[in-house]
């Protein structure tokens, strides 16, 4: 049984990663008025996710502390936006759009194909920690549908063959 008071303590985070976070955050804070640091919550959490892998309670607390706001505010943001992971994702996140324009051109078939191929349900990760598969909403690639995001890189005009090639290349 862990002591609840110690859950998510910033001190538990690796010091060199915290220093890295602080260095990068300084640049981000330049974009906002000095008395409006809390505005940097989304970029700070994105940075935290990049450096620490996912948004653990400790990383959320770190962002909140540095921005002079409450951990509840960090948690509210970390859990509201779909691009944030509060659990560790696999090494690669594959997100297939299944909204209308993509489905009219085969998006649903592509998503079903990947589920079968990787033996995953929506939101699950492969046992080897290689791929997390997610169904996502419109990616703004309707004219070049079907589309998917792989680790923030957009792939468009997909075919089953193309998808196999892209996903097969993920190590």
């Amino acid at each position: 049984m862990t002591n609840p008071a110690s859950v998510g303590a910033v001190e538990e985070l690796p010091r060199e990663k915290v220093e890295h976070f602080d260095r990068e955050l300084a640049g981000i804070l330049n974009r906002y008025p000095p008395d409006r640091k809390a505005a940097a919550m989304i970029p700070a959490l994105r940075l935290g996710q990049e450096i620490f892998g996912y948004l653990s309670p400790a990383v959320q607390r770190l962002a909140a502390e540095r921005l002079g706001t409450s951990p509840a505010r960090a948690e509210e943001v970390a859990t509201f936006y779909v691009m944030f992971h509060t659990e560790p994702p696999a090494r690669h996140v594959v997100e297939v759009c299944t909204n209308v324009s993509c489905c009219l051109t085969g998006g649903e078939r592509i998503f079903e194909h990947l589920k079968k191929k990787l033996e995953l349900a929506n939101g699950q990760s492969t046992r080897d920690g290689r791929i997390t598969l997610r169904e996502v909403e419109c990616l703004g690639s309707c004219g070049t549908a079907p589309a998917m995001l792989v680790d923030e890189e957009m792939h468009e005009r997909l075919t089953i063959q193309k998808v196999d090639q892209i996903v097969g290349g993920l190590k």
Partner: protein, 441 residues
């Protein structure tokens, strides 16, 4: 009809995103011209231009600008690049191909309205576009266009920052966007007060869509009257129409605001794939009421589409051929709104999921005629009862699909299955060319 291109004329040119290329084509000329004029003259030209908001609401841009209280400073400009309405994919191309046009538009708008800090709120998924825009802004800073002296000529400090979202459709709603930019979850605010009066950090804030702002340099360079003349009545200029779904040439087409919808689909976008019959069209992003095939011979101008019972919205035209099951399509649209409801208002939070559930039931043949009636009731109880327009956006497709295609819903009930079978999304179209503007790339 004239084929004036304002927004997409440089798309597909090599290196079009660079400052050198933009300047070689006369870029920042409008800003240079404005430096010698009274800032109020820019507002007048934009009013004269009949530019209306390209994000979806179609509100007169110049009029919106006049809502700023006279004596309150600082003021802010926030550019809405959250482009997330299904079927909409135009702002990303402005940013990818011509980011300096947007930056010049921002600079002119800020100069006109005495604003010294602007944010571009871009959806998190547009990582590449955010990078391109950040690079272009840095180029503009390095060249002295932005910074303490506007264009290096006038003591007018201006900076622009890109703020990436993190995946939430609701953040395209202007007040949710502000909440998000302040570092919170995207819960829309009650209006009034409107953002022009109480906006970012409680200060007066103008929020305009990317495409809206990208028109400003042309308006300043050529005059508001010339822009108005490209359109009709109270709608000036051209628009970027995104055509997707079952057409031979999906893509973005820049056309006068009052271009004919049928012509856009059947001629510009190359007609329906495989020569099949058209069944339905959503003319302005997924929340716009659906039109049946026989209703599409209309002007796309905001008021004309409204008169036809739909809305021109974000200019995203989604085309369904005869092979599509419209119940399946609507169930997917309903799922989107259920996923993206922020959860703040009960009618929307509960109603969107409820509608999705009923539609899934109908699609899979487990529903009764009473369920179809219930669906109509639920939609009616969401519309108009929520803080922001997402509730209406979720209800309108449901109400319009039921109004236009009710027999198709009832066939599902009677047959206890989807009459379209497994091919409910129609045939795959993986062999088409995509066009953006008229540029194949």
């Amino acid at each position: 009809m004239s084929e004036t291109l304002i927004l997409s004329k440089r798309w597909g040119k090599p290196d079009s995103a660079s400052l050198a290329s933009y300047r070689a084509d006369g870029g920042y000329g409008a800003l240079d011209k404005a430096m010698g004029a009274d800032p109020a003259a820019i507002v007048d030209e934009v009013k004269k231009s009949n530019l209306r908001g390209r994000g979806g609401a179609g509100f007169a841009t110049g009029l919106k600008w006049t809502f700023l209280p006279k004596d309150v400073r600082p003021r802010y400009l926030t550019v809405n690049a959250d482009e997330s309405e299904p079927g909409t994919f135009k702002d990303r191309y402005i940013i990818e191909h011509d980011p300096h046009m947007l930056i010049e538009g921002i600079a002119l708008t800020c100069y006109a309205l005495d604003i010294h800090l602007a944010y571009v709120y871009i959806r998190g998924e547009f990582a590449k576009q955010a990078r391109i825009l950040e690079q272009a802004i840095q180029e503009a800073r390095d060249a002295g266009i932005l910074g303490p002296r506007l264009l290096g000529k006038k003591d007018f400090p201006l900076d622009i920052h890109v703020h990436r979202g993190a995946g939430a459709y609701i953040c395209g709603e202007e007040s949710a966007l502000l909440e998000s930019l302040e570092g919170k979850k995207g819960y829309p605010r009650l209006k009034p007060p409107f953002p022009a009066v109480v906006g970012l950090w409680g200060k007066p804030t103008i929020i305009n869509n990317v495409e809206t702002i990208a028109n400003v340099p042309w308006i300043v360079a050529n005059g508001g009257a010339a822009f108005a003349a490209l359109g009709v009545g109270k709608s000036g200029g051209t628009r970027l129409f995104g055509v997707s779904g079952h057409v031979n040439r999906p893509g973005v087409y820049e056309k006068p605001v009052h271009y004919n919808l049928k012509k856009l689909i059947m001629e510009d976008a190359g007609g329906i794939v495989g020569g099949r019959k058209l069944k339905a069209v959503i003319p302005g992003g997924s929340s716009a009421p659906v039109l049946a095939a026989h209703e599409i011979d209309i002007s796309l101008e905001f008021d004309a589409v409204k008169a036809a019972g739909s809305m021109s919205g974000s200019g995203g035209v989604i085309v369904f051929d005869e092979s599509v099951c419209l119940v399946r399509a609507l169930a997917r649209i309903a799922k989107f709104y259920a996923e993206e409801s922020c959860g703040q208002c009960t009618p929307c939070r509960e109603g969107t999921s409820w509608m999705e559930g009923i539609l899934e039931k109908i699609e899979h043949g487990h529903a009764t005629a009473a369920d179809v009636e219930k669906l109509e009731q639920v939609a009616g109880n969401i519309a108009g009862n929520t803080i922001c327009a997402l509730g209406d956006a979720a209800a309108m497709p449901v109400q319009s699909f039921l109004k236009k295609f009710k027999p198709e819903f009832l066939r599902h009930v009677e047959a206890h299955r989807c009459p379209m079978g497994e091919s409910g999304w129609g045939l795959d179209q993986s062999s088409r060319d995509a066009l953006v503007g008229a540029v194949r790339y």
